[in-house]
C-alpha cells in the first residue's frame, strides 16, 4: 500500500486532508437527509468518475477524444439492457457494461492513431453523434429511442426505504469516485502514465525509445472506456433510465468546462472542476441561456489566465513558494 501511495505526489498532510474529506463525505448522508442534495452529490460523484476518465484520455494522453460521452452512454445502455433482460446481478451488469464500453473505445482507438490531432476530435465527435442519432431513431423499442430505457431496476432491493436507497447510491457512487480518482492518479504516476505523457509531448523521442504508441493508446482507451462505462452503469442504476441526451453537445460543454476549470491533465483537477460546476449548474439550470453564457466566459477566462486550471494553479503557486523559501534558505 505504501509503495502505491508513494507514487502520487501527495505528502502526508495531503493524505490526511483527503482522509478527512472522505470521512466527512461518508458521514454526510447520516447527518443531512435532504434527498435533493444527496442525489445531486450522487450525480456529482458519477460525473466525477466520467470526468476522471475523460481527463485521463484528453489531458494525460493528449488524445483529442470528444466521443467520451458516447462511450459513457454505451456503458450505461449496456448495463441497463443487461439489467432489464438478464437475471444477472446488477453489479455484474455494470461491470459488463464497462467492459463493453471499453471494447468500443478500443475499436475507436485504432483509427485515431493515424490521425492528426484535430481530425481525431472530428472522428470521435462524429462517432458520438452517430451513436446518439442511432439511439434517437430506434423505433424498435430496444433502446427506447428518445424516451430512454424503461424502468431499469436498480442496484438495491426495493424493500429499502427511499432514504436508505438514496444513501446506498450515494455511498456506491462515492466509493466509485474515490477509487477512480485515486486509481487513475496511481496509473498516471506509474510507468504507464509516464509513457502516455512522453508519447503526448515528444512522440519522436518516444518512438526512439521503443514506446509503442499503438499499445499505449489501446491501453489508454481501454482504461478510459472502462471507467466511463462504469460511470454509465452507475448513472442508469441511479436514475432508473438513460436517454440519448446524456451525450449531446450540452452535457459535453459542461463536462469540458469542468475539466478545464479543474485542470486538464491533473489528478485532482476533475474533483475540483466537477464540484464547482455541479453547484453552478444546479443554481442556474433554469436559465440555460445565462448559464451557458457564464460557462463560456468562465472557460475563456480560465484558459487564458489560469491555464493549469484551479488545481494546476495551486500546484504552480506551491512550487513557487517552495522555490522562494528554498532560495531564502540558500541566501541566509
Amino acid at each position: 500500500m505504501r509503495s502505491i501511495t508513494r507514487t502520487i505526489p501527495v505528502d502526508g498532510t495531503g493524505w490526511i486532508l483527503i482522509a478527512i474529506l472522505l470521512g466527512l463525505l461518508v458521514v454526510f448522508p447520516m447527518a443531512y437527509t435532504d434527498p435533493y442534495i444527496l442525489s445531486l452529490m450522487t450525480t456529482g460523484f458519477i460525473l466525477l468518475v466520467l470526468n476522471s476518465s475523460w481527463n485521463f484520455l484528453l489531458g494525460v494522453g493528449g488524445v483529442w477524444n470528444f466521443g467520451q460521452l458516447a462511450i459513457y452512454a454505451i456503458g450505461g445502455y449496456g448495463a441497463g439492457l443487461l439489467m432489464i433482460h438478464t437475471p444477472l446481478p446488477p453489479l455484474l451488469d455494470i461491470i459488463l457494461g464497462g467492459v463493453f464500453a471499453a471494447a468500443v473505445a478500443i475499436a475507436l482507438a485504432f483509427p485515431t492513431l493515424r490521425l492528426y490531432g484535430i481530425y481525431t476530435s472530428l472522428l470521435t465527435f462524429s462517432f458520438a453523434e452517430i451513436v446518439q442519432f442511432a439511439i434517437l431513431n430506434d423505433n424498435s423499442g430496444f433502446t427506447g429511442g428518445p424516451f430512454g430505457l424503461p424502468n431499469v431496476s436498480g442496484l438495491f432491493p426495493t424493500t429499502l426505504s427511499d432514504l436508505w436507497t438514496t444513501r446506498a447510491y450515494y455511498w456506491t457512487a462515492l466509493t466509485a469516485a474515490a477509487l477512480t480518482v485515486i486509481g487513475l492518479a496511481v496509473i498516471v504516476h506509474s510507468r504507464l502514465g509516464l509513457a502516455l505523457q512522453v508519447i503526448r509531448d515528444a512522440p519522436t523521442y518516444a518512438a526512439a525509445r521503443g514506446i509503442s504508441p499503438l499499445k499505449y493508446r489501446v491501453i489508454a482507451f481501454g482504461i478510459g472506456g472502462f471507467v466511463a462505462g462504469i460511470a454509465g452503469g452507475l448513472y442508469v442504476s441511479n436514475n432508473g433510465t438513460i436517454q440519448p441526451t446524456v451525450m449531446g453537445l450540452t452535457p459535453m460543454s459542461i463536462d469540458v468546462t469542468m475539466l478545464v476549470v479543474g485542470g486538464l491533465g491533473t489528478a485532482f483537477g476533475p474533483v475540483v472542476g466537477t464540484a464547482l460546476l455541479i453547484v453552478i449548474d444546479s443554481v442556474l439550470s433554469t436559465y440555460p441561456g445565462v448559464e451557458f453564457t457564464i460557462l463560456g466566459v468562465v472557460l475563456l477566462v480560465i484558459v487564458v489566465f489560469v491555464p493549469g486550471g484551479l488545481v494546476g494553479e495551486i500546484t504552480r503557486q506551491r512550487r513557487r513558494l517552495a522555490t522562494w523559501l528554498a532560495e531564502g534558505d540558500a541566501d541566509g
Binding site: Y119, L123, F127, E129, I130, L249, E291, L300
Partner: protein, 296 residues
C-alpha cells in the same frame, strides 16, 4: 427524374457556394493562425440575425443588410481573435491547437447563448432578399434570390482569391502561413494581421449567414449545421488548402443535396457524420491533403 437531377444540381451549387464561404474562412484561419475556429458557426448565426434585424426591424434594403452583417461579424471576429487566440500565441507548454479549439468553442457558446437570451429559441423568418423566381423546367423554378446568392458567393470567393495571389497584403498573408517569424523579419505586422484575418473570415461566414437565414430561418442554433459542414469541407479539402476547400465545398453540397432529394433532411447530418468517420478511417489526409502542414 430529370426534375430530381435539376434539383440536385441547383441545390449543390447553392449550398456549395454558401459552405465555400464559411469553409474558406475556416481554412484561412487555420492556415495563418493554426486555429480550428469553432466560432465560425456562430458567426453564421449572427449574420442571419443581423439580416433579420436589418430587414424586419430596421426595414432597410438587402444590400445594407448584407453590409451590416459583414461589418458586425468582422468586428466580432477581430474581438474573438483578441480574446480567445492572441493571449495564447507564443505560450509555451500548451497544446496550442487544442486549447484554441476549446477557447473558440467557448466563444461560440457565449454568442449562441446570448442570442438565446435576447431572441429566444424561436425561429425567425428572414424575408427574402430578392423577390421572384425564374422557371427553368417544367414545374421547377429557381428563385432570383438563390441566383444572386450564388453570384455573390462566387464573386466573393474570386475576389478573395485574387486578393491573396495578387495583392501585397495577400502575399503577406500567404507568407505568414508558411513562416510567421520570417514574415516578421520582413516587417509584416503579425499582431495586426492575425485579428484582421480572423475578422475577414468571420465576415465571410456572416455573409453566408445572411444567405442561409434568407433560405431557411434565423435562430440561435442556426450555426451548428454550417459549422459541421464547414469542418467536413475543410477536412475533405485538406486543412489550409484553399483550392481544395472550394472543390470540397461543392462536393459536400452535392452529397447533401443528393441526401435531401433521396432520403430526406433528417438523414443529412448522420450520413455526413458517417462519411466523415469513413474518410478519416480510410484516407486520413482528406481529398487533397498530402502534407500535414497547411499551405495556402
Amino acid at each position: 427524374m430529370v426534375v430530381d437531377v435539376i434539383a440536385i444540381v441547383t441545390t449543390t451549387i447553392i449550398l456549395g457556394s454558401i459552405y465555400g464561404l464559411v469553409a474558406i474562412g475556416m481554412s484561412l484561419i487555420y492556415g495563418i493562425l493554426r486555429v480550428l475556429d469553432m466560432s465560425q458557426g456562430s458567426m453564421v448565426m449572427v449574420g442571419s440575425f443581423v439580416a433579420w434585424a436589418a430587414l424586419v426591424l430596421a426595414q432597410v434594403n438587402p444590400l445594407i443588410a448584407l453590409a451590416a452583417a459583414f461589418g458586425v461579424t468582422f468586428i466580432l471576429g477581430v474581438l474573438t481573435q483578441l480574446v480567445s487566440v492572441q493571449p495564447l500565441v507564443g505560450r509555451a507548454s500548451i497544446d496550442f491547437e487544442m486549447v484554441t479549439f476549446i477557447t473558440t468553442f467557448a466563444v461560440a457558446m457565449v454568442l449562441v447563448n446570448v442570442a438565446l437570451e435576447i431572441f429566444g429559441p424561436r425561429q425567425r423568418n428572414v424575408p427574402p432578399l430578392l423577390a421572384g423566381q425564374v422557371s427553368i423546367y417544367q414545374g421547377v423554378s429557381l428563385p432570383y434570390q438563390s441566383i444572386a446568392m450564388v453570384c455573390v458567393s462566387l464573386g466573393l470567393m474570386l475576389v478573395f482569391a485574387a486578393f491573396l495571389s495578387k495583392s501585397r497584403y495577400g502575399l503577406a498573408i500567404r507568407a505568414v502561413a508558411q513562416d510567421a517569424n520570417a514574415a516578421r523579419l520582413m516587417g509584416v505586422p503579425i499582431k495586426r494581421l492575425f485579428p484582421l484575418t480572423m475578422g475577414l473570415a468571420s465576415a465571410l461566414a456572416g455573409v453566408a449567414g445572411v444567405f442561409l437565414g434568407a433560405t431557411y430561418f434565423a435562430y440561435p442554433q442556426a450555426g451548428d449545421l454550417p459549422l459541421l459542414e464547414a469542418l467536413i469541407v475543410v477536412i475533405f479539402g485538406g486543412l489550409g488548402s484553399l483550392p481544395g476547400t472550394v472543390y470540397a465545398a461543392y462536393l459536400v453540397g452535392l452529397i447533401q443535396s443528393i441526401i435531401e432529394v433521396t432520403v430526406g433532411l433528417t438523414w443529412t447530418l448522420p450520413i455526413l457524420y458517417a462519411v466523415i468517420v469513413a474518410i478519416l478511417i480510410i484516407r486520413p489526409q482528406g481529398l487533397m491533403g498530402k502534407r500535414s502542414e497547411a499551405r495556402l
